[in-house]
Symmetry: C2
Subunit: 282 residues, 2 copies
């Protein structure tokens, strides 16, 4: 798998880079961002934190706005940020151009319905294909963690819950906890996965947590002034599901904070330390 460098910017002694490659899984070119801390120049392979962004984002939002590089440089953690959907020629979009479905809104599932199933396979991309690319091309170990925001928080939770042993730690900012029971999820799952709600359960954190074979502690931050809190995000559903399953969850409700990257930036260092401890960097 050959990867093509798009840009490189020195950042906190390391490098922020973007690469393009042909994704077999997505049937399209795709771009990812990677932060390589200064320790990447040394011999010891570094662990990787995968960051999954939310609706409308691409690989750049987190790298521009979260302010994660400073602490990542201190901790020696690589950060990888994929795009949020397939893109490019032949990739279908929401017929009405909505921002909550289609391009920029892959929901980290493998679509089973047409016309989506040919390209919208962000789950396989994020869990398998991209880590293989990263581990083949950069000085990294197989120690992985995963986090994300909103739709990407949902993605981080389901990737971890469905893949015991694959991640050392997981966290989320304002995740869509229960897509089976919110408008964004209904639209996305209905289109990508079809009308059989039984099939949706394997992509819903609140459903998956009941039978999760691994009990990685979940760290979740949620702003209390988030406009999407009550209708779309539903942290109380995750809280109830975790309690019922006996799954460890630290849910931090942050007064006054909204859904923006200002919220993420304010607490990203706590998440980086959470992951660094699990990755043996703290």
């Amino acid at each position: 798998m050959s990867i093509e460098l798009i840009s490189a910017n020195k950042s906190f002694g390391g490098w922020n880079k973007r690469y393009r490659y042909r994704s077999a899984v997505l049937g399209s070119d795709t771009v990812f961002g990677i932060y390589l801390p200064p320790q990447a120049d040394q011999s010891e392979p570094l662990p990787v934190l995968y960051w999954l962004s939310g609706l409308t984002c691409n690989d750049e939002n987190f790298m521009h706005k979260a302010g994660a590089q400073k602490l990542a440089a201190e901790l020696g953690v690589v950060i990888v940020a994929p795009d949020t959907s397939p893109r490019g020629e032949g990739v279908p979009d929401d017929p009405e151009g909505a921002w909550d479905f289609g391009l920029g809104a892959g929901f980290y599932v493998n679509a089973t319905e047409q016309p989506w199933a040919g390209h919208y396979r962000m789950y396989d991309h994020v869990v398998s294909e991209l880590p293989a690319v990263i581990e083949a091309n950069f000085p990294v170990s197989d120690q992985r963690s995963i986090s994300g925001h909103s739709m990407g928080g949902h993605g981080a939770l389901i990737c971890a819950l469905k893949n015991p042993g694959r991640y050392q730690s997981v966290s989320a900012f304002a995740p869509i906890t229960n897509p089976m029971d919110c408008p964004w999820g209904h639209k996305a799952f209905g289109n990508y996965l079809g009308s059989d709600r039984e099939a949706w359960k394997q992509w819903d954190a609140c459903e998956l947590i009941a039978d999760a074979p691994e009990r990685l502690p979940l760290l979740v931050d949620q702003g209390e002034a988030d406009n999407f809190l009550a209708e779309q995000l539903k942290p109380e559903a995750l809280e109830a599901a975790a309690a019922a399953a006996g799954h460890p969850l630290t849910l931090r409700c942050q007064p006054g904070y909204d859904h923006s990257y200002y919220f993420i930036a304010s607490f990203i260092d706590d998440h980086l330390r959470h992951h660094a401890r699990a990755l043996g960097r703290l």
Copy 2:
């Protein structure tokens, strides 16, 4: 002067806000961003760091990308980011829509030539009008510092050099040090100020430094991999002018860093501390 709140996002315990007001100086509405650290809720008035952005930017780039809020929240320093030019109905732009002149490129001068002179008065806006608005509407003191990037670094340097006693400290990232002697400056000064190069001298840091009545130490960071270094920025001209004048200058050349916000973010904390010391917050 009434100001209208556009948005408010909680950030590191404080607030990132945007406001719009009718600028008499610019003859247009204008928008500024302000970061109010948590200490703004207390009784003691806080000092203000003014940040001047570069070509193509507006009031948001710095607040989104520099990662300054975390340390500003610790130090108790307010940050204010104005736009980079007048905008709106009736404000003329470069006739060819170029990015290095007109909208987004006010160069922090008071234009004397038509059709620019009616609106392009960013110098008066930044030095006088905006601080008056800030000091009338927020819990701030009259202790001010100024910094900026590229065109905004030029702006910060000339605002400080031309106004003894007005700022406690000044710094710049990759400033246009000698606009009289670079293509960006030739275009902007030629249009805004006319063809008399004598008149340009009062807007050029390398000229102003010779007779500056106040010797505020200049802190300047410059990336060595900056694409604009040799042709547009010319830190060696500032270095020579400061040496000739006996003006204190710390010019830090940063290997590998470019002209982007990744560069700014990597060193913004050093600048914040430089200003906080002068502002009595360290």
